[in-house]
């Protein structure tokens, strides 16, 4: 197993800063922006992005957490049933500009599930997708509006995102499983 560091902790911080600035710029300030992260790690990243937008714009930004377990297309046939957690979006998303946040964009199936889940909660004005790493290999017509880093990968490789809140350090690694 070979482990290559793609982003170190300083790079991680700079990437989050840049992404937050891009969101603010493309939304022209973004009074109406709410940030929703996909469990797990997308939610932590979402809190960081929202914190940064607050810092830049000086107004509070609401953050929610989305659990997509019930919307997965591979729920059946999985030997190990994924643990179900709660969705915590404690505000009305109707009419809002949602920035949907995940750590890694891969097949696009997670994002598809997240879009369906959001639509069941309310009718946002717009949803944009923000990811830390886009590793390619899409199976659905989905693309990120804001991507921290595009990484060409082979299907056998694994992209691992570590975050201080749960892993003790920030970083992105490419893992070769042979």
């Amino acid at each position: 197993m070979k482990k290559t560091k793609l982003i170190d902790s300083d790079g991680f911080r700079r990437t989050v800063n840049r992404l937050a600035h891009e969101v603010v710029e493309s939304n022209k300030g973004g009074e109406n922006i709410v940030v929703v992260g996909i469990r797990t790690r997308g939610d932590i990243l979402a809190r960081r992005i929202a914190g940064k937008i607050e810092e830049i714009e000086g107004h509070p930004v609401k953050v929610g957490t989305l659990d997509i377990t019930l919307y997965r297309d591979d729920l059946r046939g999985k030997l190990d049933q994924p643990e179900l957690h709660s969705t915590e979006i404690l505000f009305d998303i109707a009419g809002k500009f949602i920035v949907l946040v995940d750590d890694v964009l891969f097949t696009g199936r997670t994002v598809r599930a997240a879009l369906n889940a959001l639509m069941d909660i309310g009718r946002p004005a717009r949803i944009e997708l923000l990811v830390l790493v886009d590793r390619g290999h899409r199976e659905l017509p989905i693309k990120a509006d804001f991507a921290g880093k595009n990484v060409p990968t082979s299907i056998k490789q694994e992209v691992k995102v570590l975050m201080e809140e749960v892993d003790g350090e920030d970083g992105v690694f490419l893992i070769d499983n042979d």
């Binding site: 659990d67 377990t69 019930l70 919307y71 729920l75 059946r76 046939g77 999985k78 190990d80 049933q81 994924p82 643990e83 179900l84 957690h85 709660s86 969705t87 915590e88 369906n116 069941d120 909660i121 309310g122």
Partner: protein
């Protein structure tokens, strides 16, 4: 994370981890029930049949809502007016329904053990919605969920089940489940309504409410099943109420608020006084709401693994 069994036939022998998993999963479904669109897709394409050989309103509606909110297709079967009244056996009924390609069966039956029998003759997941005086696991799970919601933990919680323990599947399932989760369970009722074998379950027995009320955090008041009282187990409803009716006056003598549960339907001013049933420490309607979330959790956990 998945349940150890493919069926939910009772809480006797179900592990603490499995009960914990069901209760935790129900928390997520309770959030779904608060949404404007109370429907999620995990059981899309699954067909569930509700086989009710005994009449029921709330349990059947609760199961049906839970099934529909998980996007399952639902078929209802009531014994009256069906092939059962033409003499068909349970096995044949079940086999025939299963031949129509169903995935899960929810069964209520007047005979104890009917769901267990069914689980051996059909390939579907079987959920017991009450079998005779044996078990009613989803009711006990929703009682435990409601108690946990109110008191934060079941560990060490003191719960007394009051009333007709002899005929009560709710009491039995509660005793098994609560004891597994570390609660202290006792029962209280007339001697004629307490089964003699109860001591084998390790449950203290009281015959006077006055003796037990000072020692508990919650009372689970069972319904006097008027339809099962031909045997004269107590002289009259009025007398039952005088000695075993849970009233505000009796409960107020305790030095702390006591949570009041009741599986419904209530006989007002028989086993419970109306003011108490509607009072601030009553969680009777929360039980009904939580019932849908618990049943969604059970159906989801059984139906989406395989």
């Amino acid at each position: 994370m998945a349940l150890k069994s493919r069926h939910l036939l009772g809480l006797d022998g179900v592990s603490g981890e499995d009960i914990q998993l069901i209760l935790d999963t129900a928390v997520s479904f309770k959030e779904v029930l608060e949404r404007p669109i109370k429907k999620v897709p995990p059981l899309q394409g699954k067909t569930i049949v509700n086989l009710f050989f005994e009449s029921s309103t709330r349990t059947r509606i609760s199961f049906e809502l839970a099934e529909r909110r998980l996007s399952a297709d639902v078929v209802n079967f009531a014994a009256s007016g069906s092939s059962v009244s033409k003499g068909e056996t349970l096995k044949d009924t079940a086999r025939n329904i299963e031949a129509m390609k169903i995935d899960m069966v929810v069964i209520r039956h007047a005979s104890a053990g009917a769901p267990h029998f069914l689980s051996k003759v059909v390939a579907s997941n079987v959920i017991n919605a009450g079998d005779g005086a044996h078990e009613h696991p989803t009711q006990a799970l929703l009682d435990m969920y409601t108690l946990r919601e109110k008191h934060k933990t079941l560990e060490g919680l003191r719960v007394c089940i009051v009333g007709d323990i002899l005929h009560s599947r709710v009491a039995r399932s509660n005793i098994f489940g609560l004891k597994t989760m570390g609660a202290q369970v006792s029962v209280c009722g007339p001697a004629t309504m307490i089964p003699r074998e109860i001591s084998r379950l390790g449950v203290p027995v009281y015959h006077r409410l006055e003796d037990v009320i000072p020692k508990v955090d919650a009372l689970n008041v069972l319904r006097i099943q008027l339809e099962r009282q031909e045997k004269g187990l107590f002289p009259s409803l009025r007398e039952y109420h005088r000695y075993f009716g849970v009233t505000k006056e009796r409960v107020d003598r305790a030095d702390r608020p006591i949570t009041i549960l009741h599986p419904g339907p209530i006989n007002r001013d028989v086993e419970i006084s109306a003011d108490l049933a509607d009072g601030e420490h009553s969680v009777i309607l929360q039980q009904v709401t939580n019932g849908v979330a618990i049943r969604m959790a059970v159906l989801y956990l059984l139906g989406s693994s395989n």
